[in-house]
């Protein structure tokens, strides 16, 4: 420190993107993760595809609907949202995201119609564009964060991988919760596989977040301060609770569930993962906004 203090300044904005944006990222993880995993399980276990043919579009539409709702609510000119299609600026990841998510909604509507009409071939036709759009819908927020030059720790390439893992974590957790609510309709091997995906995603994500705590601070002074805010500052309760609920609890409970074949534990672990994911995403979003930029 230089022994200097700001003795006069105007109040400056602090939290610009708040809980609506955290909810956007969280809901999008569930929507895209359930779509990607749903397709995977439909192809791998065609004998029990009816569960996924039903819940893949339903989960996708509900949670992408939440994503779109909070996105529009967060606009200060919400009735001008159509400008993004009328005056698109394609260097912006926000624009790319809006177009990709719109395409993804069309894919989900087709998947929904495929389930309602029982036309399985219709779903087969949208597998490739669906996977591409779901992947891009998952990671475009990493592009937005990368373009937010001011907020270091978001600009690392690991953000993209982190979002993909968040999608597989949320998607597997969502299916485990629905299976538990409906009294365990899925075969045990599918539940076990969902458990492995949840366990693996939680483990890798935990490693990435802890890795960022250790290594991000070496990147720059700003990143160092952000890590301090995350670990010890005002968002630390969100960060540590999120880390515990999203990664540690699910790994333990899903581990017990698959070992002991007691799948009620998997339900608890999945619910914990869903809650924890929102908390940790919120902490990650808020922390870089707590520091003055000028």
């Amino acid at each position: 420190m230089t022994g200097a203090e700001v003795t006069f300044d105007v109040p400056i904005p602090k939290i610009i993107w708040g809980w609506l944006v955290s909810t956007n990222m969280w809901a999008k993880s569930i929507a895209t993760g359930s779509f990607l995993l749903g397709l995977y399980f439909i192809k791998k276990y065609p004998e029990q595809d009816s569960f996924f043919r039903k819940w893949m579009p339903l989960l996708g539409l509900v949670f992408i609907g939440i994503t779109l709702l909070v996105t529009i609510l967060d606009l200060h000119h919400m009735f001008r949202f159509w400008h993004i299609f009328r005056y698109p600026h394609f260097t912006s990841a926000v624009t790319l995201g809006a177009w990709v998510v719109s395409g993804f909604v069309i894919v989900l509507l087709i998947a929904f119609w495929s389930w309602v009409s029982g036309n399985k071939k219709l779903l087969d036709k949208i597998v490739v564009p669906g996977v591409v759009l779901a992947l891009f819908a998952t990671i475009y927020t990493a592009g937005i964060m990368g373009e937010a030059t001011a907020r270091e720790v978001w600009v690392f390439p690991s953000e993209m991988i982190s979002m993909l893992l968040a999608a597989t974590l949320a998607g597997s957790a969502a299916y485990l919760i629905i299976d538990a609510i409906y009294g365990g309709v899925l075969k045990e091997k599918i539940k076990r596989e969902l458990g492995y995906i949840l366990f693996g995603s939680a483990g890798l994500l935990a490693a990435m977040f802890i890795g960022e705590l250790i290594f991000a601070k070496m990147h720059s002074e700003f990143a160092h301060k952000v890590v301090e805010v995350l670990a010890f500052g005002e968002v630390a309760p969100f960060f540590w609770t999120g880390l515990f609920l999203a990664f540690i609890v699910p790994m333990v409970l899903v581990g017990i569930a698959t070992e002991k074949r007691k799948y009620e534990y998997a339900f608890l672990g999945a619910a914990s993962a869903i809650v924890g994911l929102w908390l940790i995403k919120h902490a990650w979003l808020i922390a870089p906004q707590c520091l003055p930029l000028s």
Binding site: A4, E5, D9, V94, I144, S294
Partner: protein
């Protein structure tokens, strides 16, 4: 033409005439600023120094706000100014997230993004920006960076201590400081203690825009 700004910090006396002129010229609402002057005190009595730093949009050549704006509401003018189209803005605040200089605000009256435009409307009719006219010590030097005979170009050629804010971010600001220091230009180089600022104890705004 590539318009740029230079502030000679050794001339600035923190009178805020520039900030007031900017507010009046551009009808900037309460709790919003296109240009502000920050005071930073350094050292311990009797060896103390006060830095005055006028802060405004840097009109970067590689502007993150222009790149992230989803509807091109932030756009370059042919003279290099990064301008705002209030009617096109959707109020997503991406520009505020992207700007590393905290230079953009959401106008609470219009709900659109806004910022210093180097008084583009005045320049259009051959006048200087309001802050340049109001400065009693001619600390603000404004002109065409492409013209080697302009005052700003000559100033840049004659001074070896030219600085920009956050050069590592590759934004290529067209706003320069002469006789500055890390303390003056790096926001993390000084503390922001609670309750010890002049005139106000509010460090951060609770709201942005009118939403």
């Amino acid at each position: 033409m590539r318009l740029g700004f230079l502030v000679d910090l050794s001339r600035c006396m923190g009178c805020m005439a520039c900030a007031v002129a900017c507010k009046a010229e551009n009808n900037v609402p309460l709790h919003s600023w296109r240009l502000r002057v920050k005071y930073i005190d350094q050292g311990e009595f009797p060896n103390t120094k006060r830095h005055f730093v006028p802060l405004r949009c840097n009109h970067c050549d590689n502007a993150p706000c222009e790149r992230i704006c989803p509807v091109s509401a932030l756009h370059y003018l042919p003279n290099g100014i990064v301008n705002v189209d209030h009617e096109r803005c959707i109020g997503c605040a991406s520009c505020m997230m992207a700007c590393p200089y905290n230079a953009i605000y959401l106008d609470p009256l219009t709900n659109s993004a806004d910022k210093c435009t180097y008084c583009a409307h005045r320049i259009e009719v051959g006048m200087m920006p309001a802050c340049v006219v109001a400065c009693p010590t001619h600390a603000n030097i404004f002109g065409d960076l492409d013209d080697p005979e302009s005052e700003i170009s000559i100033y840049l050629q004659q001074h070896r201590d030219v600085m920009v804010r956050k050069p590592e971010l590759n934004t290529h600001p067209k706003h320069f400081y002469v006789r500055g220091s890390t303390v003056a230009l790096d926001p993390l180089a000084s503390e922001r203690p609670e309750g010890y600022t002049l005139f106000t104890e509010v460090k951060f705004l609770d709201h942005i825009g009118g939403h």
